[in-house]
């Protein structure tokens, strides 16, 4: 009895430093956002007052919010499957014994190491009409110049492309590690059985990669709602909100308009959204995942 008591004490003691930071920088801000979201924004001449769910009603009636939300869904749809697909492809490729393997691995991983702000500035020039890289290539095959970031139809896809390019290399690392962990015995057995490369991937490698896929998927979903750096550099949400994502909109409301209460309500909405996504993934998908 006495021993378990002191064990618990030591346990809590060991957890305390990490907990302190978590509470100060994660839990408390989340709770503070919830509290702030039911008050009005304090102004110099109008102190803050309790407004109940007014800020949430404002969310429902806010067209820019809905556009950011839809944009964000498209952004997720555009980035998650594409970057996971590319990551698996690249991982399989550099997992084989090919000449220049180390170089290929490094090349694929490079985008992840570069700071997003620098990357976005480089892509800004890729997308520049007329003399940008993309248009120069298009010019070679006789296509007219396109204003990639300045046209409502292409702007969102342009920023999705940057995100996929940035993310795929990062996810590749996880897949590569998982592939290295698959026992070579399985590959030998499969080749003895005469299984084709595709069957081996579909029946053996892919199922064994499922835990990694789940992990990557969760990260990809979070990232789809978390990436704003390149939006700030490349489009500032424009043209006419065509590339405004949720977090970028929250930043705008919070730090450009200083409507902190409304920004808090938007933050709570996003927290709930992400918590929901994580719950689905851990609760439902995880049961379908095969841990070897």
């Amino acid at each position: 009895m006495k021993k378990s008591h002191s064990d618990a004490l030591i346990g809590w003691g060991l957890m305390a430093p990490a907990m302190l930071f978590l509470i100060a920088f994660t839990h408390w801000p989340a709770i503070a956002s919830i509290i702030e979201s039911v008050y009005s924004t304090p102004r110099a001449r109008r102190p803050s007052s309790f407004v109940g769910l007014d800020n949430y009603e404002q969310i429902l009636a806010d067209p820019v919010f809905w556009q950011s939300f839809t944009n964000n869904l498209w952004f997720a749809v555009g980035t998650i499957p594409a970057s996971i697909f590319l990551a698996i492809l690249m991982a399989l490729w550099v997992n084989d014994r090919i000449p220049g393997r180390t170089f290929a691995r490094m090349a694929y991983f490079t985008p992840t190491v570069l700071p997003m702000i620098a990357v976005a500035n480089i892509w800004l020039f890729f997308f520049t009409p007329q003399y940008g890289l993309l248009d120069q290539v298009m010019g070679l095959i006789g296509r007219p110049a396109t204003n990639w970031l300045g046209t409502k139809d292409t702007a969102l896809w342009a920023v999705i492309m940057v995100a996929v390019w940035k993310e795929a290399g990062f996810f590749m690392i996880f897949y590569l590690a998982a592939l290295q962990g698959i026992s070579p015995v399985l590959a030998e057995a499969a080749s003895l059985e005469g299984a084709s490369r595709w069957t081996f991937f579909r029946r053996v490698q892919f199922p064994l990669l499922m835990p990694t896929t789940l992990f990557v998927l969760i990260n990809a979903v979070i990232n789809a709602f978390r990436m704003v750096d390149h939006i700030i550099v490349m489009t500032r949400g424009g043209p006419d909100n065509a590339t405004s994502l949720l977090l970028f909109y929250i930043y705008q409301v919070g730090f450009n308009f200083w409507d902190t209460a409304y920004a808090a309500a938007l933050t709570v909405f996003m927290l709930v959204l992400l918590a929901g996504a994580a719950a689905i993934q851990y609760g439902w998908l995880e049961r379908k995942v095969h841990y070897s």
Binding site: R43, A44, R45, V64, L124, F125, T128, P129, Q130, Y131, G139, G142, P144, A145, N147, L149, G150, T151, K152, T235, R236, G238, P239, D240, N241, Q252, F255, N256, F257, W258, D259
Partner: protein, 428 residues
């Protein structure tokens, strides 16, 4: 020394240092400033602060580069809310109402005591004071101010059979020139556009110039009522849209503010509308002879002013405010203002700066340096309202919608006006 003793010793020395500061060391102030144009601006500002500190041993100014204008405002307001703002900051003159509404700034008038101070306060170009004063008080000191000017490529003009020394004087000429200057290759793809008016970053600023030329302003001077759907504003936006959509002399859709000077250097556009703050940048990077002119006129000439004012924070000690005022006053003395203008391309803030010897010799060697100043008599205040960021976003979004073809000009401007009305109603 074990850790406990070390802590005690540190605490004791900190306790010793503090009172000594209060008892007469130099007054320490920090100065937050943004950079919005090319060039080695941080070095220039550091040198200015160093020079001031040398001349004024009782004050110690620490300049802090704070990012873009937008980021600087975010930092200043955040610091104000946490109670430790910089004593002096350089912010967009249009953020005046935002700073007043947050109770973050104090008027300059309280520091202006001697006749010399008063002469200094009335020495600025009146066009710059419009965005610096409201309610009978002066809130900002003009520092790095600008207007929009037209840059043209003289070589391209010659190739197109135009007089390379003559800029378009009015809208019709500007359109006709732009059409002549637009070059297409054999398959009909454009290799050089005639003109370029950028539409990211500050599209409302460019629209304001067009609206002024067509005879209308965007907002009242109290900053609580906008006129976004006035006929002149619509005429301006229509002209802008038609340059690209109808006359095919301007790149279609939204044109990036940041790459516009580069488009000009790369000969992808023969004319461009941008800030005079880019003058030194263009001078350094254009590989062809270029000209600088006032913007073309329609009913009248016109360009809004732009750029940054110096503002003194409310939540610092009176000694720090006084020191900030002295630094700001020194920065805007004719000699310093002239040098600042020469180094960056910004308009020097007072007529006296243009009478200094160094400015006169610079203008002789490089006459375009005077164009922006001459345009000032046609200039008006930049769009500035309460909740400025929100109101300008309403306009910016809709201008972009019209230029990218998803709304008609009138519908876009009506939407912008409705949204601005909703935001500004509480401020009347």
């Amino acid at each position: 020394m074990d850790r406990r003793r070390f802590l005690v010793a540190t605490a004791a020395s900190a306790a010793l240092v503090r009172p000594s500061l209060a008892q007469g060391g130099p007054v320490k102030i920090s100065f937050f400033y943004p950079i919005a144009v090319g060039g080695a601006v941080t070095r220039l500002v550091d040198n200015l602060a160093k020079e001031f500190n040398r001349l004024n041993p009782d004050v110690e100014v620490t300049p802090v580069y704070a990012g873009t204008y937008q980021e600087t405002l975010v930092k200043v307001v955040t610091a104000h809310k946490s109670g430790t703002p910089p004593a002096l900051s350089c912010l967009l003159s249009t953020d005046m109402f935002t700073m007043i509404d947050d109770d973050a700034v104090i008027p300059i008038d309280g520091f202006v005591k001697t006749p010399a101070d008063k002469a200094w306060l009335s020495s600025f170009f009146p066009a710059f004071m419009a965005n610096s004063q409201t309610g009978g008080k002066t809130w900002g000191i003009p520092f790095q101010r600008s207007t929009i000017v037209l840059y043209w490529n003289k070589e391209a003009f010659r190739e197109a059979g135009l007089d390379p020394e003559k800029a378009p004087a009015n809208w019709d000429e500007h359109l006709a020139f732009a059409q002549k200057l637009t070059k297409r290759d054999a398959s009909g793809n454009v290799t050089q556009w005639g003109t370029q008016i950028p539409s990211t970053g500050f599209p409302y600023w460019l629209l304001q110039a067009l609206a002024l030329q067509a005879g209308d302003v965007l907002a009242n001077s109290a900053g609580n009522r906008t006129t976004f759907n006035a006929p002149g504003v619509a005429a301006g936006l229509q002209y802008w849209l038609d340059l690209g959509q109808k006359h095919k002399a301007h790149a279609p859709g939204i044109v990036e503010w940041g790459t516009t000077p580069k488009d000009f250097f790369e000969r992808k556009t023969a004319m461009m509308w941008t800030t005079t703050g880019n003058l030194s940048n263009v001078r350094a990077n254009a590989k062809f002879p270029f000209g600088v002119a006032m913007l073309p006129e329609q009913k009248r000439r016109g360009s809004p002013t732009g750029g940054g004012n110096l503002m003194i924070s409310k939540k610092v000690s009176p000694e720090q405010q006084q020191a900030a005022f002295r630094f700001a006053r020194w920065l805007t003395e004719p000699e310093i203002a002239a040098q600042w203008s020469i180094d960056t391309g910004y308009v020097a803030v007072s007529p006296a700066a243009y009478d200094t010897a160094r400015m006169k010799s610079y203008a002789q060697e490089f006459p375009p340096a005077l164009v922006a100043r001459d345009q000032l008599e046609h200039a008006t205040a930049e769009l500035s309202t309460h909740e400025n960021q929100r109101v300008t976003k309403a306009l910016t979004d809709n201008v972009q919608a019209a230029l990218s073809g998803s709304k008609t000009v009138q519908a876009a401007l009506n939407d912008a006006q409705t949204e601005a009305e909703r935001i500004l109603r509480p401020y009347r």
